[in-house]
C-alpha cells in the first residue's frame, strides 16, 4: 500500500506508514444492520441504537481502510467478507424475534403471542344492556357526589369563553399566595411532531418516537465534546516541532554504537587526571609543610568578632558549648571546636558541654578530655559534659532551664548567668534551634562555628541590622584556621590551608578547562554543520 503522505511503499496489511508513521487511511464507515444508520468512520457501535457494527471475533486489523482524503474517482473500498453475512444474520435475528411474537395463523390473521392469550375470555361474555341507573353505578362504583357529571365536557368547553367574557372573576388570594397564581397561557402551541424513524414491524408499525431495543442492546453514552483549548502560536510551533522530531525516522548513521576501547580509555584517563590533580594539590603542600597561606591569609571581621567575644569573657564565667555535628563534617568541625575550646579554657572559662547529635557527644567528649588534661581542668568543677540531648525544639530549652534548676556549682542561679552560648553546627537546622529556642527567648549572647555548607544559612544571623543574634561566626576549615591563628594555637587547620588553597585553584582550573573544551566542541560542531 502506498503512503498518501510520503509515497513510501508499505505492506498491504499495514495501517500506519513504516517510513513516516502517518495513518495509511481511515477505518471504513459501517451502516447499522438493525436501524440502517450510517455511522462515522471508526465507530464500531451504532450511535443510534447501540448495536455492534462488527461481529464478535473480528479484530480491528480486519477492518478495511478508506483512503485518506478520498474523493471522487477513488476506488471504493471492498466490502469485507464478513460484513454481508453479519448484516444478513442480524436482520434474520430481528425477523425471527418478531415472528415468534406476532406469527400469522392459518387464516392469515396475526397470531396472538402467548402472554396475550391469557387475557382471552376476559370481557368477552355477552351481557344485557345495563339500565341508566345500573350504568350510573357501574361507571366506577363511586358515590354520587364524586361522579363526573354527564355534561362535564360541555361545561369544560364553555369555561374559557366565560372567563374571556368576564363572567368569572379571578379569586382573591392573600399576598403571600399571589406569586403562586398560575399564569394564563395565551396560545397553546401544537405539540411538535415526534421525531425519529417509525416502527417498521410489529404492533407499533408506523408509530414514531418509540424507544429502541434497549433490553437487547445497551445504548452507549456519547462522550461530551472536548472543550476548545486556546493555544498560542509559540506553543503550537513547539508542539509541531516536537511532533516532527518524534516522527522523524532514525537516520542510518545515527545509531548509537557502543564506545570503542580508545574512547573508553580517553574518558577514563580524563577522570584519573582530574583525581591526580586534586590529590597532588592536597598531598604536596602537606608533605612540604608549606605555610604560605598562614602568612597571607586575611582575617575576616566575623572570626575576629568571635575571638573578641570569647576574649572578653571573665575567668570563671560559664560558657554553654553545643557540638551538633556528625562524622560526615567532623573534618571541618573538630578543628574549629578544638581551637575555640582551647581558647575558652585558656581564658579560665567554665565549660558546659552538650550535643544534639549522638555522634557529636562522643566526638566532643573525646576532644574535651584531651583539652581538659592539657589545661588541668577538673570535671564537675571546671567543666561539665551533659552528653546527648534529643535534637528537637524542646532539647536546647531543656538544657538551659535544667542548668538553672540544677544550680551547677552555685554559679548558675538564673539563665543570665550563662555568659556565652557557643554553637558548632554541622547543619543549619541545629543553629536555628539554638537561635530560636535559646538566644532569642532568653536574650543570651551567642557565637557560632558552622560548616561551609551551613554558612549561607547562618550568615544572615551574624550582626544583622535588627539585633546581634550572632556576635561572631567562623566558617569551615578556613574559619578554624583563622581562629587558630588569632588564638595562637597551630593545628591541623592552619597546616592544611595551603592544601586547601591549592585544591581550590585546581578545581577552578578544571572548571575553566572543562568549559573551554565544551564550548570548543560546540563551535566545532557548528562549523562542521
Amino acid at each position: 500500500m502506498e503512503c498518501p503522505h510520503c509515497g513510501a511503499a508499505n505492506k498491504p496489511e499495514s495501517r500506519y506508514c513504516g517510513e513516516c508513521g502517518q495513518p495509511l487511511g481511515t477505518p471504513k464507515a459501517f451502516t447499522c444492520p438493525l436501524c440502517d444508520t450510517t455511522n462515522a468512520p471508526g465507530i464500531l457501535i451504532c450511535t443510534e441504537c447501540g448495536a455492534d457494527l462488527i461481529p464478535p471475533g473480528v479484530s480491528l486489523s480486519e477492518i478495511p481502510l478508506e483512503p485518506v482524503g478520498g474523493g471522487e474517482g477513488d476506488a471504493l473500498v471492498e466490502e469485507p467478507p464478513w460484513e454481508g453475512q453479519y448484516r444478513e444474520e442480524a436482520a434474520a435475528e430481528v425477523r425471527e424475534a418478531a415472528d415468534e411474537d406476532f406469527a400469522l395463523d392459518e387464516s392469515g390473521k396475526q397470531e396472538e403471542p402467548p402472554w396475550l392469550k391469557k387475557l382471552d375470555g376476559i370481557g368477552t361474555e355477552e351481557s344485557p344492556e345495563p339500565s341508566e341507573e345500573e350504568a350510573h353505578v357501574e361507571r366506577g362504583g363511586l358515590p354520587e357526589w364524586l361522579e363526573v357529571p354527564l355534561d362535564f365536557e360541555e361545561m369544560l368547553s364553555q369555561a374559557p369563553d366565560a372567563a374571556e367574557e368576564g363572567g368569572v372573576e379571578p379569586g382573591d388570594l392573600p399576598a403571600w399566595l399571589e406569586p403562586l397564581r398560575p399564569e394564563r397561557v395565551e396560545e397553546t402551541e401544537e405539540p411538535a411532531e415526534v421525531a425519529g424513524p417509525g416502527e417498521v414491524t410489529g404492533l407499533l408499525k408506523g408509530i414514531r418516537g418509540t424507544l429502541g431495543i434497549e433490553p437487547m442492546l445497551a445504548i452507549p453514552r456519547r462522550a461530551s465534546p472536548t472543550p476548545a483549548v486556546a493555544v498560542d502560536s509559540v506553543a503550537f510551533e513547539r508542539a509541531e516541532l516536537f511532533s516532527e522530531v518524534v516522527r522523524e525516522p532514525l537516520r542510518p548513521g545515527l545509531e548509537l554504537a557502543p564506545p570503542r576501547r580508545a574512547e573508553r580509555l580517553a574518558a577514563s584517563s580524563v577522570r584519573w587526571i582530574t583525581y591526580l590533580i586534586v590529590a597532588a594539590a592536597v598531598v604536596v603542600p602537606l608533605l612540604l609543610g608549606s605555610n604560605w597561606s598562614v602568612a597571607n591569609m586575611p582575617s575576616t571581621p566575623a572570626a575576629a568578632a568571635m575571638y573578641g567575644a570569647i576574649e572578653g569573657l571573665p575567668a570563671g564565667s560559664v560558657a554553654l558549648v553545643s557540638h551538633d555535628y556528625d562524622p560526615g563534617v567532623a573534618g571541618e568541625m573538630i578543628p574549629q571546636a578544638r581551637a575555640v575550646l582551647g581558647h575558652l579554657m585558656g581564658r579560665g572559662v567554665r565549660v558546659v558541654n552538650v550535643s544534639l547529635t549522638p555522634e557529636g557527644s562522643r566526638l566532643s567528649e573525646q576532644l574535651l578530655g584531651e583539652l581538659a588534661e592539657e589545661h588541668q581542668y577538673v570535671y564537675g568543677q571546671d567543666y561539665l559534659s551533659l552528653g546527648y540531648v534529643v535534637g528537637v525544639e524542646a532539647g536546647p530549652r531543656a538544657v538551659v532551664e535544667g542548668l538553672v534548676a540544677a544550680h551547677w556549682s552555685s554559679l548558675i542561679e538564673e539563665v543570665a548567668d550563662i555568659s556565652l552560648v557557643v554553637e558548632f553546627a554541622g547543619a543549619p537546622e541545629y543553629l536555628r534551634l539554638w537561635l530560636e529556642q535559646v538566644q532569642a527567648p532568653y536574650g543570651l549572647p551567642m557565637v557560632a562555628g558552622v560548616s561551609a555548607t551551613a554558612d549561607p544559612y547562618a550568615r544572615p544571623y551574624y550582626r544583622n541590622e535588627a539585633q546581634d543574634q550572632l556576635l561572631g561566626l567562623i566558617t569551615g576549615f578556613v574559619g578554624a584556621a583563622e581562629y587558630e591563628r588569632l588564638s595562637g594555637q597551630e593545628g591541623v587547620a592552619l597546616a592544611g590551608m595551603d592544601a586547601q588553597s591549592l585544591a581550590h585553584l585546581a578545581i577552578i582550573l578544571l572548571v575553566v578547562v572543562g568549559n573551554v573544551a565544551y564550548f570548543a566542541q560546540r563551535m566545532r560542531g557548528r562549523l562542521s554543520r
Binding site: G331, P358, R432, S451, E465
Partner: protein, 216 residues
C-alpha cells in the same frame, strides 16, 4: 597498642571508601555497611545510656514516690511502640499528638521571635550613603533590598504577569529574583565543594601523619 590498632582500622576503612574512585566494589560496600551499622548501634547505645537510664529509669527506681510523674512520659513512649502494628497503631496517636503539639508550638513561637521578625526587621535598611554608614554599606543594603523583593516576586504566582502594569513590575522583579536565587545556589554549591575539600585534607592529613608518620 590499642590506639595504633584503631589508627590502622581507620586507615584501612578510609582506603576502602576511597576505592570507590576505581568503581563500585565489595570493599566500598563493606565500609559503607559498617558505617551505617555502627552509627545506628552507637545511637541506640547513647540513647539508652544517656537518656533512658539516667533520665527515666534511675529516677523511677531510686525514688518512685517522688518521681512518679516520670511514668507519664514512659507510658507515652510505650504507646509509641504500638505504631509498629497496624491494628494497634491508634494507641500511639495521643503520644504523636503530644509530640506534634509541643513541637509545633515551640517551633512556631521560636521561629517568630528568633528568625521571622528579626530577619524582616533586618531587611528594613537604608540605601542612602549618609544613613547607611558609607557608600559601600549603601550598595550592600541596596543589593539586599533588591534581592529580597526580587526573590519574593519570583514566588508570587497569583497576579497576571502581562495584563497590568503591576503584573509587569512583578514579572521584572521575578527575573531579578531568579538570578538572586541562582547566585545563592551557586554559593551554596561552592561552599559544599569547600566542605568536601576540607574533608579530603583532613583524611589525607590523618593518613600521612597519624598512619604513615610522614608529617612532622
Amino acid at each position: 597498642m590499642s590506639e595504633a590498632f584503631a589508627v590502622w582500622i581507620a586507615a584501612i576503612l578510609t582506603l576502602m571508601v576511597y576505592s570507590y574512585l576505581l568503581a563500585d566494589n565489595p570493599l566500598y560496600r563493606l565500609a559503607q555497611h559498617l558505617f551505617v551499622g555502627s552509627s545506628v548501634g552507637y545511637a541506640v547505645v547513647v540513647v539508652v545510656h544517656n537518656v533512658l537510664r539516667p533520665r527515666l529509669a534511675d529516677p523511677l527506681l531510686q525514688d518512685p514516690r517522688a518521681n512518679w510523674p516520670y511514668l507519664l512520659p514512659l507510658l507515652l513512649g510505650l504507646l509509641l511502640l504500638s505504631k509498629a502494628r497496624g491494628s494497634l497503631a491508634w494507641l500511639g496517636n495521643s503520644s504523636m499528638a503530644f509530640l506534634f503539639g509541643v513541637g509545633a508550638a515551640l517551633a512556631i513561637g521560636g521561629a517568630l521571635v528568633g528568625s521571622f521578625l528579626p530577619q524582616i526587621q533586618a531587611s528594613w535598611v537604608s540605601v542612602l550613603p549618609g544613613s547607611a554608614g558609607g557608600s559601600m554599606a549603601a550598595v550592600n543594603n541596596l543589593l539586599l533590598a533588591v534581592g529580597t523583593v526580587g526573590t519574593l516576586s519570583y514566588f508570587y504566582f497569583t497576579m497576571g504577569m502581562r495584563k497590568s502594569a503591576g503584573g509587569r513590575l512583578v514579572k521584572l522583579g521575578a527575573v531579578v529574583g531568579r538570578w538572586v536565587i541562582l547566585i545563592t545556589f551557586g554559593a551554596i554549591f561552592g561552599n559544599r565543594v569547600m566542605t568536601y575539600v576540607a574533608l579530603l585534607i583532613e583524611r589525607v592529613y590523618f593518613l600521612l601523619g597519624e598512619w604513615l608518620g610522614l608529617l612532622g
